[in-house]
Amino acid sequence: MTVHVTGEVLDAKRVGAYLHLTLVAPGVPERFRPGTFVSVTLGDSAHLARRSYWIHRIRTVGGYGAAVQLVVEPSGAGGTWLASLKPGAKLTLTGPLGRPFALPKEPVSCLLVGEDWSAAPLFPLAERLRERGCSVTLLVAGRDEAHLLSALEARRSARAVTVVTADGSVGQRGRVADVVKEALARSEAEVVYAAGPHDTLHAVAQAAEEHGAWSQTAVEVAHPCATGLCHGCPVPVVGEDGVARVVRGCTEGPVLRGDRVRWGELT
């Protein structure tokens, strides 16, 4: 079940190019599963579309209990507004929304691939997988060091971490597509979880297929309402029955099987 609540900003910390925003959002932390997100209502009446953010982690904050942490890029109407909020500011949000990453029943080897801010949901996923005895390998990518989500933190819940940046400022120089095959082979992953831009997800899904692994991709599209009401976030897929369909990115997604998404038709 999802809740629509008034949240409060507890703290906003600048980490590289991003803002790590910690919010009290009653009812959200206990329902959170990795891959779910929250949708924020902007504080002015001119912007009616909502803005979705991955839940990066659940933090316990003294005196408040569990709080949710989001990773926000401070650009665009939504990001700029969120970045302007001071501790104590109130905001309206709905969550957790969407279908989370499906966890394997067996303790298998998993490869987690995340790029830029989209890597956010993979860190709590890594923890859950490790709790289940899965061996976790992380591949974290970013435009540059500032856009790379903390790989240091990741080392705690992963067996191996590979870092790639497009400009080579940290880790290997390159894109996910350049290194994912090697990462798959090395980790002997049976399941691949990925979050990032569409072309990255496409490359990961394709590599997983060739490698014979399952892939779960967290597809980011703009969600005008994020609750499934408006049907405004179409994602083209192929159903279990082989029939081409269009599903809602917010409700049937955001996590979809990589081999089911018609990547070429996703705009």
Binding site: L48, R50, C225, H231, P234
Partner: protein, 266 residues
């Protein structure tokens, strides 16, 4: 209690077509049975995928929306309608068709479906065309199942169209539909939300003044209880809330509760 087209409604607040998903998506945020009714997305005979992305685009104080998907009548009757009926809300099925024959076919088959309260049909174009659509639907519906005609809030002809559809058998008119607009890439889209509210309100005022005996359901950018009250004061017997639900899915519940509270004599 609100009386609309011979139906007793639990509240004057209805969910507007295309803004309540299949109904299930609203369930976490509202007791549907406490609302005046739920108008479904527009159902056609065949399934439609809806427009390509971007399909819904933000514009100052409004949303532009290209055609949404619908599962087609068969699937709707098998899966969506029974759920809505069971939710205890009054179900108003909105229909869309390309020809009068298709409208008649939709009416015939929906008329046999159990649990339906009314049909809503969005009519655009000249008043005589609107009237012929309403007549085609009306003719094939069982007695007692009312037709609500949803009109474009176009000041130049909304009164004339309202008169024409009522003469053709519409039990009430809904004023109104989205304003015709275009997405940034030029594809046709409807504009709705607070941006269109004053235009819709003006149309409600004019229709009510010209046709005081015709029941009007008002809608267009209603967000707050004050907005809802404005439309009711202008002569609407009920209101529809749409775009506001996309911004805040609890809107319908909040409006219904606030209006009920205001009804209690001080």
């Amino acid at each position: 209690m609100t009386d609309l087209a011979g139906l007793t409604l639990a509240s004057p607040v209805l969910v507007a077509s295309g803004c309540g998903g299949t109904g299930r998506e609203l369930e976490p945020y509202v007791d549907l049975a406490a609302l005046g009714g739920f108008v479904t997305r527009s159902i056609s005979l065949d399934a439609r995928d809806g427009a390509d992305a971007p399909r819904v685009v933000e514009t100052p104080s409004g949303l532009l929306h290209a055609e949404g998907p619908n599962p087609g009548l068969e699937h709707f009757l098998a899966t969506e309608l029974p759920w809505l009926v069971r939710s205890g809300t009054r179900v108003v099925v909105s229909i869309a068709a390309r020809s009068l024959g298709e409208y008649a076919e939709l009416a015939r088959r929906l008329g046999r479906a159990p649990g339906l309260s009314a049909i809503e049909v969005a009519v655009a174009g000249e008043p005589f065309q609107a009237a012929s659509v309403v007549a085609a639907v009306q003719r094939d519906l069982p007695r007692g199942l009312p037709v609500l005609a949803k009109l474009r809030p176009d000041l130049l002809r909304v009164v004339e169209t309202a008169r024409a559809v009522v003469d053709a058998g519409a039990a009430a008119v809904v004023v109104g539909d989205s304003q015709p607009g275009a997405l940034p890439d030029g594809r046709p889209a409807g504009l709705s939300g607070p941006a269109v509210r004053p235009i819709a309100l003006r149309c409600v005022v004019e229709v009510h003044a010209a046709l005081p005996d015709v029941q009007v359901v008002g809608g267009g950018g209603i967000v707050t209880v004050a907005d809802a009250r404005t439309f009711l004061d202008a002569g609407a017997v009920a209101i529809q809330v749409g775009t506001a639900l996309l911004h805040d899915p609890t809107t319908a519940a909040r409006l219904a509760a606030d209006l009920t509270r205001e009804d209690v004599p001080q």
